[in-house]
Amino acid sequence: MTSYLARRAAQAIVVVIGVTILTFILIHLIPGSAARAALGVHATSGRIAIFNTAYGLDKPLYAQFADYVGQLLRGNLGVSYTTQQPVSALIAQRLPGDVLLLGVSTVLAVAIAIPMGIYQAVKRSRLSDQLLDAVSFTLYTMPDFFVAFMLIALFSVQLHILPPEAPQATGIAGLLADPRALVLPIATLTLSNLAGFSRYMRASAIDVLAEDFLRTARAKGLPERLVLVRHVLRNSVLPVVTVVGLTFPNIIAGAVIAEAVFSYQGMGLLFYQAATSHDYPVLLGSTLIVGAATVVGSLAADVAYGLLDPRIRHGRG
């Protein structure tokens, strides 16, 4: 396992370096001037020159890349062209909100989707399965923002019992200080994730329920509850682990629609704003962080596979 992890970690570093190079090249292929985007339409040539010198944009591309790699090696992600703040500070400011909101909603969605999927598989084609199917299909087809607006219209505008905004504080402690404001954004993201996870879980559990080893377990007199927990759950959860692992980068990358609707400034909006304003350092920094999160999520899913299924042992042959 150790050698496997070391090998995957080395692969991860290569992937992240590749992502960095590719992103750097692609960003610089975008037509238009970063200085003009940052300084606005009335930027004089003098101001543009000052800006380009200040940010090294007057150097050849290879020199800019060398500078960027140099500062990365010193742990410096650069300074945003538009906010004039260190990119690391911007990410540190935005990340806690996303980790809390998306992390909690993902955990909740998984916690509900797993029993729901197994239940539907066991009750396959019965009325309860069909009702839950209808609910999950409805949620699956609804865009995030629509779910959010429905919840806001009901609980904020009509009933006035929950605020329509996420907590406005920064930092985990500040966010948790206003728990009522967390309810609607977390509910929206949970409902959006739930539909997908439960569909995977149901399909996987149906496959497992058809396996011979379950018939054997039941023939041996194993109670149905233990059959479901020890055999169905453990075997059917594997595909969901993959999906959840691939969801991990979303927790870091943010959810731009939910951020927009619930007015919290997360990584999604940071990336969107950077993309529309040619803010290269923020784009590169965000991509690097999300790229690393993707690699980590994928690795975590692989490791979890090994732990859940004894037949899978990484690092042998």
Partner: protein, 610 residues
């Protein structure tokens, strides 16, 4: 408030939900004109007002003199309530200087308008020391040594045009200029950008250093500037750094969050009228929709803005205890023309073509149908609403080119065009004669343009579509393309006769929204040859002479002459300028009359009533 295009669908859905949610609600849907606040009752001390700000409005510099690389206009919103300008622009709803809140007691122009004698009020800094003429020289020395690295620097103006500054007393400043100016222009547009800064607290080169007179040498002024820029950009110390605790405005900063939310508390030692409110909270919303949801759900939000497309929500907002007022925006609005685009430059260089294009824009209909009546008609360079004495009789009467499709078609035909309504007109008679298409226009050339505009606002989309549609009546084909503002800015540069590189001069027509005016709606930088904001390269010696006359001459009539000439010559195609629609708690007194030159942000005048 601009919103990303991809969120437009979300906004539309929100509007639908909003309409469903408010069905059956009664109440008036009238929007006030902002002449007076609706609050009645006795003024009380204390209370918190919470203002909504749009996404991207987070300030990032607290030092009031921003460097050239920092164009974040929201920094001024943060700082002007703590370090007000020498001249306070806007007096209630009037485009006039506010004498109560300005820092001077008198401004006298002499020697043929080449010297200005400024008498300061006997006001004090929050640390108890008096505001003196030395504070002015401190600012002047910093700017003189660090220009052009000052974001509002205009070459030739302050401090370039200052021959000398004398301080005959602690309360008197005599500024000698290198040339004479129109006094209104200089007071309204130049001195209104100069704050006074506390020399006795800020004239330092390092945090641990002592206060001195470092600004009196160029090297020292550069060091002080660098130090203050560095300290001023550290968001984490905005409320703790001793530098920023010394203010002369009505407020001090009580809290600041790096995501842009911040809170003011009254400056208890303010020499003017100390604000009644005990807290002013500034809160950033990521979208218009999020802000609207907050308003409709009856949260603590006190002041917000209503997107034009949500005017239908007024009755609901009123039922939640808000009032709604219309605030005209002081700015020039319209479509910029690129006179140096290789393909379309020769077309727009012809006045008759610009004239036909203008006569095909149904401005009154756009105002009434798309902006619900809450927009300036855009009949020329100066908005009719909000500028009172600056608006010429011609503009008041609808401008030189009212909507007249028949006249436009006739004009094109008389210049050799085969006009194809709903198609594309083509030049039939090339040449430079009076009945021919004009210089540089070839036979068969189509009247076809691409119009770029800033994306993210549904009402603006509709207005551009209306222009596209009405231009078709004259066979003028407009292809619309919307982009985020920053994307447009990144590819659009200034095009002049001497420089029009393809990379930044490939655009044909562009509409950025509007260019803001200060108190004096000068055409300098917008329409003069080589003006920094004259992106399309319009050039006319007569226009230049008239603009110069408005800045340097002394006749009030000159401005109307300039204004009418500009309206007729169409350096831009004039278009409507939508108003800002403000929403405020009906118990908030002092909110109106609105001051359009400060974006309605006058919390020093606000109070609650009982």
């Amino acid at each position: 408030m601009r919103t990303p295009r991809r969120l437009a669908a979300a906004a539309a859905a929100a509007a639908v939900i909003g309409l469903a949610a408010c069905s059956g609600s009664g109440g008036s849907s009238a929007i006030g004109n902002g002449a007076a606040s609706s609050a009645t009752g006795q003024k009380v001390q204390g209370g918190t007002a919470t203002l909504a700000w749009p996404d991207g409005s987070a300030p990032n510099l607290i030092f009031p003199l921003a460097p050239a690389t920092n164009t974040n206009g929201y920094n001024a919103n943060l700082t002007q309530l703590m370090w007000p300008y020498l001249v306070y622009d806007g007096d209630g709803a009037q485009s006039a200087v506010n004498p109560q809140e300005s820092l001077f007691s008198s401004l006298t122009y002499g020697n043929g308008d080449t010297t200005i004698t400024i008498k300061l009020k006997p006001w004090k800094w929050s640390d108890g020391t008096p505001i003196t003429s030395r504070d002015f020289t401190f600012v002047y020395n910093l700017l003189k040594a660090n220009v052009p690295n000052w974001v509002v620097y205009t070459p030739g103006l302050f401090p370039d045009d200052v021959k000398s500054v004398a301080t005959p007393s602690a309360s008197t400043i005599v500024v000698t200029l290198t040339r004479s100016y129109n006094a209104d222009f200089y007071t309204d547009n130049v001195l209104s950008q100069i704050p006074l800064l506390p020399q006795q607290a800020w004239d330092k080169e390092s945090a641990g250093g002592k206060v001195g007179n470092y600004d009196e040498t160029a090297a020292g002024a550069k060091a002080v500037w660098a130090f203050l820029q560095k300290e001023g950009s550290d968001l984490s110390t905005f409320t703790t750094n001793p530098l920023w605790k010394v203010v002369d405005g009505p407020f001090t900063l009580a809290s600041f969050s790096s995501d842009g939310d911040y809170t003011y508390a009254p400056n208890k030692n303010y020499s003017g009228t100390v604000p009644a409110l005990s807290r002013v909270v500034n809160q950033v919303f990521t979208t218009d929709t999020a802000e609207m949801d907050a308003l409709r759900s009856g949260t603590s939000l006190t002041v917000g803005t209503l997107p034009q497309n949500d005017v239908g929500q007024v009755a609901t907002l009123k039922s939640e205890g808000y009032d709604v007022v219309n605030q005209p925006i002081p700015g020039a609005a319209g479509t910029l023309l690129n006179f140096y685009n290789a393909k379309t430059g020769p077309l727009v260089s012809q006045l008759y073509i610009r004239q036909a294009m203008e006569e095909l824009i149904d401005r009154p209909q756009i105002v009434s149908k798309i902006f619900q009546g809450y927009a300036d008609p855009g009949d020329g360079p100066v908005p009719v609403q909000g500028f009172g004495q600056w608006v010429s009789p011609l503009e008041k009467q609808g401008g030189p080119y009212p909507y007249d499709p028949a006249k436009a078609v006739s004009l094109l035909k008389s210049h050799g065009w085969q006009v194809t309504p709903s198609g594309t007109s083509v030049c039939q008679a090339p040449g430079t004669g009076p009945a021919e298409c004009g210089a540089g226009i070839t036979k068969g050339e189509p009247l076809s343009f691409q119009l770029l505009y800033s994306s993210g606002t549904a009402s603006v989309d509709e207005a551009q579509a209306a222009i596209q549609s009405s231009e078709e009546q004259g066979g003028i084909k407009i292809t619309l393309k919307s982009e985020p503002f920053a994307t447009l800015a990144s590819v659009i540069g200034q095009c002049t006769a001497s420089s029009h590189p393809a990379s930044t001069c490939g655009w044909q027509l562009v509409d950025f929204g509007y260019d803001p005016y200060q108190l004096d709606p000068t055409g300098n930088t917008l329409f003069n040859t080589g003006g920094a904001n004259n992106l399309g390269g319009y050039s006319s010696p007569e226009e230049d002479a008239l603009i110069n006359e408005t800045e340097y001459g002394s006749s009030a009539q000159t401005f109307y002459t300039y204004e009418d000439y500009t309206a007729e010559q169409l350096p831009w195609l004039w278009g409507p300028l939508p108003s800002q629609i403000d929403v405020y708690k009906s118990g908030l007194g002092g909110f109106a009359p609105l001051n359009p030159f400060r974006g309605s942000i006058n919390p020093e005048d606000w109070y609650y009533t009982k």
